[in-house]
Amino acid sequence: MSASLQRILYVEDEVDIRTVAKLALEAVGGFEVEVAASGDEALLRVRDFAPDLLLLDVMMPGMDGPATLRALRAQSQTEFVPAIFMTARALPGEVAALKAEGALGVITKPFDPLALADQLRMFWEARDA
């Protein structure tokens, strides 16, 4: 696990959400962001892109967020890469279930594009606490 957060793999099926979040994470957070529109695409992306962090939408057609995380965990390149989920449903039970999948945290939609980078950093810095 690298000490500083620089490279993020972001998996989200909605193109407009993906565009806004990538833009904000790059401009506000200064991160290097690689995007994937599906879990399958994420598995291809990690062949050439070694992320520090996985940012995963929960509800996607095909492989959903938790299934994508399990598939990425089964690959040596991303076996130990921390993950954060994004979801529109933030019921207490669901957040706990997502954290039980091994996520650092859960970000609820709608998100504030300008605050997203800070939210990620907060979870990142708390990961060893």
Partner: protein, 166 residues
């Protein structure tokens, strides 16, 4: 959040504003898709109520799939682009659609109340929305006074409390 140089902040604000405008332009089509799915669901419900079970099941499920997908998409995007009430309505529709998908008995039982709920929520979606998404316009004005990080209105999570699309 590191403070952005004014030029970078202005550029980001302009890009966000452009994306917000694109989203706004996509609204009629998005709501139209939801309306079509609600109509298709209603039609298949009538088939089911008429005892046409052999053909209602497939169209019922297809309509619900379409409705779930279209409302999910709108629910996820609307709040971020400054339309929180629209997003909340879409989320309610999505929750109801998924609840029905998980309960095949709902095909005939209790369909009247679900239909009324969908009709009411659809009418809310179709009500005219305001033209100035506050999140985006706040970003633009913050950038114009020199730095996003200095704008208190932008933090924290203003999308949850602002909006004129009630």
């Amino acid at each position: 959040m590191p403070e952005l140089p004014a030029a970078a902040a202005a550029q980001l604000a302009a890009q966000l504003a452009e994306l917000g405008e694109e989203f706004q332009r996509s609204l009629p089509e998005r709501v139209g898709q939801i309306e079509a799915a609600v109509m298709a669901l209603g039609a298949s419900w009538e088939d089911c109520a008429d005892g046409e079970g052999w053909r209602c099941g497939e169209s019922w499920e297809a309509a619900l799939r379409e409705l779930s997908a279209a409302t999910h998409s709108l629910a996820g995007a609307a709040g971020t682009f400054g339309y929180p009430a629209l997003g909340a309505t879409a989320l309610q529709m999505e929750a109801l659609a998924r609840q029905l998908q998980a309960d095949p008995a709902a095909r005939v039982v209790g369909s009247a109340s679900a239909r009324e709920t969908f009709a009411r929520l659809l009418a809310t979606l179709k009500a005219p929305v305001g033209t100035a998404p506050l999140l985006i316009s706040a970003a633009v004005s913050a950038a114009s006074v020199g730095g996003l990080a200095t704008a208190p209105a932008l933090r924290p999570a203003p999308v949850l409390v602002v909006g004129d699309d009630e």
